[in-house]
Amino acid sequence: MSGHHISSAKFLWGIGSALFFLTFITVAASWVHFPSPWNIVVAIGIASVKALIVVAFFMNLWWDSKFNSMLFVMSLIFFLLLIGITLLDTLFRVDPVPSF
């Protein structure tokens, strides 16, 4: 019975407190002024860690069949693809005259 992992209450509370702690960290990080590209990297990094914890342990992807994890990773790949190639256009536009 592969999909029926039951995690213990202590484990779930541990994950919950980790998430609360990381929330505090991300807010604390916003008080410290990081130079321009790094503040985004830190914010996204912490948020990604939190998201991975929720997805892996609350949503049982850690013990689930590999196909579901692959689905989740595929959706991220296609999301990054949408952004990456769109930025290829929006960041490299050449304006013949300084525009509006």
């Binding site: 190639i85 769109t86 256009d89």
Partner: protein, 579 residues
Amino acid sequence: MATTDAPNIKRLQVRRFKPEESPKEHYLNAEKGLWSWLSTVDHKRIGLMYFGSIAFFFLFGGILALVLRTELLTPTQSFIEAETYNQIFTLHGAIMIFFFLVPSVPAALGNFILPLQLGAKDVAFPRLNLASFYIYTIGAIFTLIAIFTGGIDTGWTFYTPYSAETSSNVIMMTLGIFILGFSSILTGVNFIVTIHKMRAPGLTWNKLPLNIWALYATSIIQVLATPVLAITVLLLAMERMLGIGIFDPALGGDPVLYQHFFWFYSHPAVYIMIVPGFGVISEVISTFSRKTIFGYWAIALSSLAIAFIGFLVWGHHMFTAGQSSLASMVFSFLTFLVGIPTGIKIFNWLATMYKGSIDMKTPMLYAMVFLFLFTIGGFTGIMLGALVVDIHLHDTYYVVAHFHYVMMGGMVMAFLAGIHYWWPKMFGKMYNEFWAKIACGIIFIGFNMTFLPQFIMGAQGMPRRYYNYIDQFQPFHQFSTMGSYVLGVGFLIIAAYMIHSLLRGKEAGSNPWGSRALEWQTSSPAPHHNFEHTPVIINGPYDYHKPMSEFQLGIAHSHNGHHEGEKVDVETGTAQEKA
């Protein structure tokens, strides 16, 4: 029906179940009355309901096309106003794409055939399947309301800022398409889970029919691309209602960003439309050449390759739209990559016909017409992929001819091949072979008469969506309009002999084409729960060198087997079972 998850070799007691030739009891007369149809969860009935609504919308879109062509007979006004013409070409595009092409093979033929080819009793979520049909119907109702209360004149692409400013009711139409998107998503969800979880014992991934691979690739595209259309249409509606200004230049938005979002869905959408057609063509060519498919894995993986690369190329619709040169270069390069798997498929089908025993029945005729027309569509796609030529040809009739060759020459021919191929399985009746061939010839001639001149006209610079045009293009338009009438007549002939076949067609056996595919190993029309037995698969789907009896195996004591098939020489087949 994959049971245990440990991939060990499990011995199955198998027996041969010959399909019943003219079944009294089948899914059509299992339950009677309109309510039994409207509330059915049988994938075959849902497939037929989709088939009916798709035929209606194809007729509706086709009539609109004939009105457009008739208006273009003269350079100035023939019989309708500019406003009406703009609405009609918008509706022709939107109805043909969203209501006919996207759902046609996945929802109509796919719903009917997928569980049969998998040996399953039904799709994974039958109620969800019925829900997606009703979502399709609700979406259609909203769109028809939009059409009859003022129409839309923005083109099926709804480009902002025009779509945000025009007074025609864009919101009702986009709401209809928003709802329709969910029907497409839910069909995709259903098919992915069914293919993964509900295959018959022994049906491993390398024995899957290529039609299943094509539907699998299509479902992946449907699931990954349609949500972006949903958010684009939602943003457009918010643009019109709250003026959120993301696409409105006056408020600092960028209309080209709308085009990025729109084409991120709409190019994969053209692969949603064509890849299932590839699946049908693989089945038809292999059955009527009575030969094992050439390059099974090449065709299966090229479907997945098209599904993936299809997501990278959307920018080739925007070469002239003020896109950065870097983006245009990347999109042009990737567009050429997506052409390669399509080319591989064409060559593999040709190689399948080599040294086959080709039976020139109507489905095979349509498959060959498909090969010819789709190859022309493919080459003109390469032409439009080259950057400098696309600058000249973009938004001209060359593009109109290209996508009609690919969509109508490719998808509609494959859909017709699929209908004629599975018609006996759906209704248990044959159609008139002579008239079917006549209709195929008329459609081929009419189609080329309509769209070949448009290539020439487009290269000479005739822009798209033009109500008035300069006199230089009149002879082409007139020739093209004549062709569209011939095309219309061709489709009417099909409708005629198909209805005749429904009423008084002669009885078709369970396997009129002698195919080894699993859906032909049950009676036609199929029983309510698809198979009298639990089918066991030991051969590949196209192993014509194996006797027919090896394709009709089922688990020996599946107690719902109503009748005793004779003992099979294969005492105990070994079926490898995998989760």
